[in-house]
């Protein structure tokens, strides 16, 4: 097991290198150059001299391989560099201050999605073509098809403006510092309610359909038949024999969506004025802020590779066949 994990880990390194190289090239292929986007693009102030100076400062006057080499040699010392945006702050500081809120939102969202999608999927599979199945099918597809921004605006108008139950946007009320500890948490929760609702509604469809599909396949298997023939209660047949097998593909999908946790939803963050990773990355892309883009990329690809590895290991834990198969080899 350990040897397997180690071997996978070693193989991941050249892969990571490859990913960063290809991304570096692709990012630089986009037309535009941070030196001209800085300090007011078409500003009447900017002289040709200033552009030249900025290019030198950022090392943009060098060839692409040299730039990549410089970036890489800093990276191995864990120096992600400074942002090309006008604030010029360290990349890690910029990512670090935005990561927690995005992580929190996405983890809560994921937990809600999974805890709703699994029962929905199981119920609609075991009661295929029942009224419940039809209603949930319609519901999750409506959720899937509803544009985030539209739903967000409607909810903001209803709960924020008309009913005045929830804040429209942001993370904290302005008098937050003056509230008691529990009131602070309550206030924070109130601010997160709508963004989480919007994101969950959209994400529910995929997972519950996967779950339903996977469950449908499993309950048609012979061993389920025999479990029933043994006289086991339907609750045990579904809950124990079927569910455990049906969950396997879901684990893989979950593993693959781990890196997405730090990506952040651009639209939800944009509309609700939440300063998370999504906003940061879109802005970095518009500003051609290469260090921030690359920094994020390294983190995401490291996570993806780790998540893949973790999913494979989790697989072998959940599914005895994989473990046994390997031992035999």
């Amino acid at each position: 097991m350990l040897a397997y994990a180690l071997r996978r880990l070693l193989l991941a390194l050249p892969l990571l290198l490859g990913i960063t190289f290809v991304s570096f090239v692709v990012i630089h292929l986009a037309p535009g150059d941070p030196s001209e986007l800085q300090s007011g693009d078409l500003s009447m102030q900017h002289s040709a001299q200033a552009y030249k100076q900025m290019r030198e400062e950022y090392g943009l006057d060098k060839s692409l391989p040299v730039q990549y080499w410089n970036w890489l040699s800093r990276l191995v010392r864990l120096d992600f560099g400074r942002s090309f945006a006008p604030d010029g702050r360290p990349v890690l500081a910029k990512i670090g201050e935005r990561l927690p809120i995005t992580l929190l939102l996405n983890i809560v969202e994921m937990l809600i999605i999974v805890s709703l999608a699994v029962p929905i999927g199981v119920l609609s599979a075991t009661r295929q073509y029942s009224t419940f199945d039809k209603i949930t099918t319609i519901f999750v597809f409506v959720g899937f098809a509803t544009p985030d921004f539209w739903l967000a605006l409607l909810l903001m108008i209803l709960f924020g403006v008309r009913l005045d139950w929830l804040p429209v946007s942001g993370l904290r009320s302005l008098n937050w510092e003056y509230l008691s500890f529990w009131r602070q948490q309550w206030d924070f929760l109130g601010h997160l309610a709508l963004p989480i609702l919007v994101a969950t509604f959209g994400g529910l469809a995929g997972f519950s359909r996967y779950m339903r599909q996977s469950m449908l396949e499993v309950i048609r298997q012979d061993y389920i038949q025999s479990a029933r023939a043994k006289g086991l209660a339907e609750r045990v047949v579904v809950g124990k024999h079927a569910l455990r097998n049906a969950l396997l593909p879901i684990v893989t999908i979950l593993g693959l969506s781990l890196p997405g946790l730090i990506g952040g939803s651009v639209i939800v963050e944009w509309i609700f004025a939440i300063p998370g990773m999504g906003q940061l990355m879109v802005q970095a892309a518009f500003e051609r802020d290469y260090p921030v883009l690359m920094g994020n990329l390294v983190i995401v690809s490291t996570l993806t590779l780790t998540a893949n590895l973790a999913a494979d290991i989790a697989y072998s834990l959940v599914d005895p066949r994989i473990r046994v198969g390997r031992r035999r080899r």
Partner: protein
Amino acid sequence: MVKRLRRLGALITLVVVAGGCTGEAGGGAGERKTGAIVPANGDSLIEASIGNVSSLIPNITSDSASHEVGDLMYNGLVTLDRDLNVVGELAKSWKLAKDCLTLDFQLQPGVRWHDGKPMTAADVVFTWETTVNPKTPSPYKSDFQDVERVEAVGPHDVRVVYKRPYAKALLSWALPILPRHLLESYVKAGKIKEAPQNWTAPVGTGPYRFKEMKSGEKIVVVANPEYFKGRPHISRVVYRIIPSQATIFLEVKAKGVDVAGLTALQYKRQTEYPAFEKAYNKYRYPGAGYTYFGFNLKDPRFADRRVRLAFAHAINKQGLLDGVVLGLGRPATGSFRPGTWADNPAVKGIPYDLQRAQALLAEAGWKRTNGGLLEKDGKPFTFELLTNQGNDERKKIAEIIQASLRELGVTVEIRILEWAAFLKEHIKKRQFDAIVLGWGTGADPDQYVVWHSSQMGPDDLNHISYSNPEVDALLEAGRSSCHQAERVRFYHRLHQALADDQPVIFLYWRDALPVVSNRIFGIDPGPAGIKWNFTDWFVPKHLQRYTAG
């Protein structure tokens, strides 16, 4: 994009606006029944801002958000008053020598930095050194390229010596003065962005002191009780960064923000109900930027003045204004802000006249074919009109131009590009036929960098490659004189010359459309907009909403 272009070229990005300013007061002072309207200290004001702040040292930024926050924390030697006149701020008085080569400032005595240290002439000298230091990424260097030296004559006396007369000399000293005792080591090392003042602990002399910043979320400043002009009334100002204009509007409706700019549609169609008018006062005044339809003058078709004039005659500017911004703006006759001293009111706009347009095109050799399309030497008149993504107004303008020119038999293809690519691949390389873009104007009318024939390099701003000896001469004269009475003549003539030549078709000046919560009093709208006397704004005691801070 709107944010970006609003800040273009502003010499000092004070929210400077000109011309008549109308306040559409919903529930004015007279209608208040309870409590006296007397200035009182206290309350918080919450302002919504679309853009993020890029630094808390405004001297190294050019985005409007940084400057708006910076204006509350820093002072320049001079500033602009309600009617856009230059008045003293940190400078008690000044004297410009007859030959315009020496400028002497006497500073206000007893001004202190937020950390308690006295502000002196040495800080002024330091601010200049910082700006011209090649390692400082300041967009304001060109304002000081003609300065020979700046010296502290006494603790409160500064002398600036110019190599040659410079028109913007006085105004350029609206630059925020920086604290030498905190920044000197960072500036010397060329690392001003690494100073704590850049992001976490700015120190100025201004009416508000920095309290906290949550990146991408909000910035909070609090009243400076020791401000040399007296404590501002409003105790706390919160800038909330809300990137979506739709969200800002909903926050306004939910009374979550007190000051915000609206779009034309929101202003005209979505705020005309009693509850809104009871809660907010709406203001409207001409903004500092104009939108134009420009040509690549290297293209022989557009180098012909008759073609440009014909196009100008074919576009119904008032109709365009009504369609694009619901009439909330004014047709432009040139590039000087209407109502400022450089603007020449005698210049007339080019009337909408299709027959005249057709005649001009015929005169230039363009013939209509059987299909109704315009042709010259067997080639149809077809061109590509570029503009940037993310600006709905410009997209609509491009469509209106397309429809208008179709009447003349000209085929226009519209292409909308992402800003960075648009700039790098098309504007800088001069790879375009025609564009729809905007310019922001500063407090000074000098527009040398936009129209002068020497400014055609790839990084320069004469994108359209305009060259006109008369215009060149007027720009040079206007920029090297420092007497306004003399400059007026040059700029009035320049305005006429540009209107006659139509190097670009000037479309319109858009109005700024802010709303302010009507518990706030003391707003005196003028040519400079509403923010110029912010320290005088107040909320009467009985109307104060946020009392905790």
